[in-house]
């Protein structure tokens, strides 16, 4: 595996950032945030991966088997839960912004500036 998961993670991370920086729609922003979040999953799982490793279930483990790191899987799971909460909240905010301000374009939500 080596460096590849981290290259993928970096590409996803930068792609998400690029999307947020250029988007004209806040729903799209939320999607881009999910893309960025996926890069953290890839990076975390890449850290704990063992080539030819088995699932980290230690019961009835055959002799000589090398399980992958279970800690990063737990971290990824926590990360997924957190991301769902954040995404739900941001989507709710976008809906409210659209309902009250009539637009989901960040360039046109311009009450605050200066």
């Amino acid at each position: 595996m080596g460096v590849y998961p981290f290259v993928v993670a970096a590409v996803l991370f930068v792609a998400g950032l690029y999307g947020i920086a250029t988007t004209r729609d806040l729903i799209h922003t939320a999607v881009c945030l999910t893309v960025m979040q996926s890069s953290t999953y890839v990076a975390l799982l890449g850290v704990g991966y063992v080539r030819g490793g088995t699932a980290p279930i230690h019961q009835d483990l055959p002799h000589g088997a090398r399980p992958v790191d279970p800690v990063v899987q737990a971290l990824t799971l926590t990360d997924v839960v957190v991301s769902v909460v954040v995404l739900a909240l941001i989507l709710a905010l976008v809906i409210q912004a659209h309902r009250r301000g009539g637009t989901a374009d960040p360039d046109r939500l311009r009450e605050l500036r200066g």
């Binding site: 993670a9 991370f13 950032l17 947020i20 920086a21 250029t22 988007t23 806040l26 922003t29 945030l33 960025m36 979040q37 890069s39 953290t40 990076a43 975390l44 890449g46 850290v47 800690v71 990063v72 971290l75 926590t78 990360d79 957190v82 909460v85 954040v86 909240l89 941001i90 905010l93 976008v94 409210q96 912004a97 009250r100 301000g101 960040p106 360039d107 939500l109 311009r110 009450e111 605050l112 500036r113 200066g114």
Partner: protein, 607 residues
């Protein structure tokens, strides 16, 4: 008494869950009182922990999973006296905010109280955890409840815009933290802060370590609102309702700096020991730029709450210039400053909320002279005293903190630093005094083209509550100001801060205690005395603040006398306003640029 530590998080979190479930069945007034009671109980716990932590750090292992043979197996809370002090600040501000929210909203519903309690749990957990991933979880817990608190008044588009900017930028900041954690875990196989520090110290620092540190830095600096990551902060704090804003401004931002310092000392200190000078230079640069930039932007605002938001940015930068010295005295000074300044910032935010609600506006220029009413007398007094107190008025806790910071800067060979902080503080405090004089005394003119949002109405929706807030609400900020004064009156507190700072930076003793249970001997508490520099900077700050305020009020009259016409704002001022565009895409570009610069610099340093 280590068993009390998890209660600091569990009590508010479980109460929040209970209130959320039962809130629909019990009267709103009862919910409000229960929430205040829970926050008060948490404060008592935090103070007991603070007293316990005086002798040495406290360590608590969840589920009794003690480390075995120097290897951390479980998850720990580790509390230094400075961390406990921050936790106390969090709890006290939460009590003030919850007390204030009684009778403040027309129809807050019980969910506001629930959110404040969850926010409280997130912030206390964030300040006392000893585990890196746990730190991220609490980071998210407080951030998510922060979004909800910030966007509580959903009916205003401006509130939604500010909250979205807050949510998007902070979520990206959290990703940086996770990436940093992934790299560190890949390198060390550990998540416990002390364990990471030990493993990193056995291997030479390389670019990966540098990038991991840089990613964590970016995440925490976004939370803290350091320039150029600060853009969300001015938008979010300007639209937050007063009780939530008091918590944001009083402590949430500064928690980012505190976490940065904790991670640096516990994890990276040994592995980058040879490059500490360069890292200090980077942190101090960010701190000075933030302090100066925040102060300038603060001066250029017409909206009262936006002024305070940029004041938070600037004062956060000031605390980074202290912690960034990377010595024990700097850490003590920074924490003492965060605590003593935090209660005053909270007080100002609450008092401003009352002013805005009473006067139906938050624009300094439009409100000129409208604060000259008998019913606003107490609010005005509290605002004025808190503003001057932030300017390190002798007697206040901020003054003690400034005196500590002068000593810290001198021992790092940077004796000029306190004067920079004095100048930036003078500008922020001067701006508060300017708006105070304009609104409550009616001084100065009713227009100033240099100020942003000159013609705007109130943006936060504070004035739309139907009923005027109760006049007793002013007691909450008044008590916070009194607390800020009490912090300065007790000289032993400064000595304790110094001793606690020494424990905080003693990484080896920390690792020994966390991983092997070796309790280090207690440090002696030195007598802290206030040096000549502190008197000088204090006098300088207050004099400059009065000058700034006068220039803001009558400066254009002087100019007009010379040039016979008042000029439009200069190109620099216009550019500064234009940069704060309120568009989240622009902010992300700034964040990316800042993050890239930090990553390149820090990985080059660690190589």
């Amino acid at each position: 008494m280590n068993d009390l530590l998890p209660l600091l998080v569990a009590v508010p979190l479980l109460s929040a869950a209970a209130l959320a479930g039962l809130g629909a069945f019990i009267p709103g007034r009862v919910t409000e009182l229960v929430a205040v009671g829970v926050a008060a109980a948490t404060s008592v716990l935090a103070f007991i922990v603070l007293l316990d932590a005086r002798a040495h750090d406290l360590v608590y292992w969840f589920g009794g999973w003690q480390p075995s043979g120097g290897h951390a197996l479980g998850i720990a809370f580790t509390v230094n006296e400075l961390d406990a002090g921050i936790a106390c600040l969090v709890c006290v501000l939460a009590v003030a905010a919850l007390t204030f929210s009684i009778r403040y909203f027309d129809d807050a519903g019980h969910l506001f109280q629930v959110l404040v309690l969850v926010f409280l749990a997130g912030m206390t957990g964030f300040s006392i955890t000893g585990d890196l991933f746990n730190l991220f979880v609490f980071f998210e817990l407080m951030t998510v409840s922060g979004y909800a608190l910030c966007g509580y008044r959903v009916e205003r588009p401006s509130v939604m815009q500010g909250t979205l900017n807050f949510a998007i930028l902070n979520t990206i900041g959290a990703f940086f933290v996770v990436m940093g954690i992934a790299l560190l875990y890949g390198r060390t196989g550990a998540l416990n802060l002390a364990q990471i520090g030990e493993r990193l110290s056995h291997q030479p620092a390389d670019a990966t370590t540098g990038i991991a540190f840089a990613l964590l830095c970016v995440g925490f600096l976004v939370k803290a609102g350091a320039i150029p990551f600060h853009f969300w902060l001015s938008d979010a704090y300007a639209v937050a309702a007063a009780p939530a804003g008091a918590l944001f401004a009083g402590v949430m931002s500064d928690l980012g700096y505190h976490a940065l310092a904790r991670v640096y000392w516990t994890c990276f200190r040994d592995s980058v020991a040879g490059d500490a000078g360069h890292i200090r230079a980077v942190l101090l640069t960010v701190g000075v730029v933030t302090a100066v930039g925040g102060a300038v932007m603060c001066y250029l605002q017409a909206d009262l709450k936006r002024q305070l938001a940029f004041l938070v940015v600037s004062h956060g930068g000031a605390s980074l210039t202290m912690a960034g010295l990377l010595n024990a005295e700097g850490m003590s000074a920074s924490t003492a400053y965060v605590i003593s300044d935090g209660v005053l910032k909270g007080a100002v935010f609450l008092a401003l909320g009352l002013t805005v609600a009473a006067l139906h506006g938050s624009n300094e220029l439009q409100l000129r002279g409208r604060g000259r009413q008998r019913r606003l007398l107490a609010v005005g007094v509290v605002l004025g005293v808190a503003s001057v107190g932030m300017g390190a008025l002798p007697g206040f806790g901020t003054w003690r903190a400034m005196s500590l910071s002068a000593g810290a800067a001198r021992s790092a060979g940077l004796g000029w630093l306190p004067f920079v902080v004095a100048a930036t503080t003078a500008v922020t405090v001067g701006t508060l005094l300017r708006s105070y004089a304009r609104v409550f005394l009616g001084w100065g003119r009713g227009s100033d083209p240099a100020l942003a949002g000159e013609g705007d109405d109130e943006i936060g929706g504070e004035s739309e509550e139907r009923s005027a807030p109760s006049r007793w609400l002013v007691l909450a900020p008044a008590l916070l100001v009194a607390a800020g004064f009490a912090l300065g009156l007790a000289p032993p507190l400064a000595g304790h801060a110094v001793a606690a700072g020494r424990v905080f930076v003693d990484t080896h003793a920390y690792a020994g205690q966390v991983l092997r249970g070796v309790v280090p001997p207690a440090h002696a508490v030195p007598a802290a005395h206030v040096g000549a520099t502190a008197w000088l900077t204090s006098a300088l700050t207050l004099a400059l603040a009065v000058l700034t305020a006068s220039w803001g009020l009558w400066g254009d009259r002087l100019r007009a006398a010379r040039r016979a016409e008042s000029r439009p704002p200069s190109a620099t001022v216009r550019a500064l306003h234009a940069v704060h565009s309120g568009v989240v895409s622009d902010y992300v570009v700034w964040l990316t640029g800042g993050a890239a610069a930090l990553c390149v610099t820090l990985s080059a340093i660690a190589r």
